[in-house]
Amino acid sequence: MSADTLLPQGWELVVGLEVHVELQTNTKMWCGCSTEFGDEPNTNVCEVCTGQPGSLPVVNAQAIEDAILLGLALNGGVAEVCRFHRKNYFYPDLAKNYQISQYDVPLIHDGHLDVDVVVSDDAGEESIDRRRVRIERLHMEEDTGKSLHVGDTGRLHGADRSLIDYNRCGIPLLEIVSRPDIHDPETAQAYLRELQAIVQALGVSDARMEEGSIRCDANVSVREVGDELGTRTEIKNLNSVRSLGRAIRYEAQRQVAVIEDGGTIRMETRHWDESAGRTETLRVKESVTDYRYFPDPDLVEITSPADRVEAARARLPELPAAARSRLAQAGVVREQAAAIVGAGTLGWYDDAVRAGGDPQLVANWLAGDLVGQLAAAEVTLEESGVTGAHLAELVGLVADGTLSTKLARQVLDGLIEERGAKTPAEVAKDRGLEQVSDEGELRTIVERVIAANADTVEDIRGGNAKAIGALVGQVMKETRGQADPRKTNELLRELIG
């Protein structure tokens, strides 16, 4: 849907996103407890992460390094000196009754992220529109525990009691706050996807929405074009990129309806109900002063001297956007380039091209048949043992006519079965999958088919050129599909004359 059907004429949507990324460090932010996902409840918990009297938090150096790396990838500035604050509020998933966060001086400030959005014009022609979303800040904080609500209905409102597991409490969390630069759901989705891809490329988090290692809240408001910013609501419980788009669309339309009805928008936190497809009031937002932020006296300041920042910058890998444009320049179609970078199979692509594989042909397999074949075999590309060199060889065998595409698929299945222990040529040979393109052998078969189909041959000689198809079919049958169709055609024409 294009932007102009989202809201009535004259209205504008304004969205800012707050994305939380759980870092994949070995230990929590302030203590040596494990961060392993899925461990038995309350087994990765100590005095520090439950805020027992007398315990002292100590910063995880790796978390700071990771945060700086992500900040640089998002074109941000690194604070020379930053500090930690206590954000005070009572909620049982945080045993200390405060969250250690950053307030006046975040670790990273003033970045931006460029995202590509596919737009279609009136004629339905698609093109890419690059949009810049400014990033206000990126700060370090800690995650909270996980609550399980039990009782009559199991839902938040009707639960009798909440059961808390503090394993997640204290895991390093980065909050990335965008400026309200987003004006349609598609850009919000593209921003979240791109952020996810960058985080994964940096290896600082697996950034899985379904496991909660990347989470997104949306601040949504509407205004009449030219007006000042309207009152915003904060939408929570967005569990997928799709939910993000749906929730923004719903909320924007709800707000316009309320205002056009003479009502006003309250500053509040709203909960996205995915199955009902609507947002509901969760709580009225506390004002920021109610959190009574103050510098945490248990922690000292963190400094980031220029040399440390430059060392981090030197460690930055190729970012997804750069990788995509590199592939596009090599001739790979846009969607496939995006699929390869997004799926994390860029390493295989690079290896294959280095081994002499044609970029587009390699991409066809990597973003095409191979994906389905791996899924059918229930293995990842890594587990399959299929290497970039294998792919280069495979596309070469197709290009020189040794394998048809269909046979190449079978060779690939064989490769996956053998976990890459053989080369594609070996698999083809072992399993008798090579096309019969040997002149002598194929000629014998073609002669036999001509002799056995005198009527058809007469038909062709009589001018029915199409009938040759039937003979090609016969040759294919005799060779169990392994004849090179082009050569077969040539030989038939030559021998029939």
């Binding site: 460090t25 070995n26 230990t27 203590c31 040596g32 407890c33 494990s34 038995e40 409840p41 309350n42 087994t43 990765n44 918990v45 100590c46 005095e47 439950t50 100590v58 910063v59 995880n60 150096a61 790796q62 978390a63 700071i64 000196v81 500090r83 005070n88 009572f90 909620y91 049982p92 609550s147 399980l148 609500h149 039990v150 009782g151 938040l156 409102h157 639960a159 009798d160 009691r161 909440s162 059961l163 808390i164 597991d165 503090y166 309250r266 509040e268 009031t281 969760l282 709580r283 009225v284 109610d290 009574r292 510098p295 006296p297 922690l299 000292v300 300041e301 963190i302 400094t303």
Partner: protein, 98 residues
Amino acid sequence: MALSEDEVRHVARLARLSLTDDEVAALAPQLSEILGYAEQVGQVAAAEVAPTTHPFAPTDVARADERRPSLARDEILAGAPHVEQDRFAVPRIVAEEG
């Protein structure tokens, strides 16, 4: 700076303290006095003195990302008012309806 009784009630609510009217009346001037005491800093601090948030000079006290044993679960759960499914059972979380 004088704190109003309403402000005292607000701060008490944020801290989840329940105060009687007598206590509020008694605390308002006391808290105001403490604030006034802290305010003296503003009278002596010169513009060229950077705000201090910490009495200690050191910075960058950090630790390597190495695991250390956590507490035994029984030990940590011993502090819970109620335990259910190896978790801390607490009264249901009530969303503050406005």
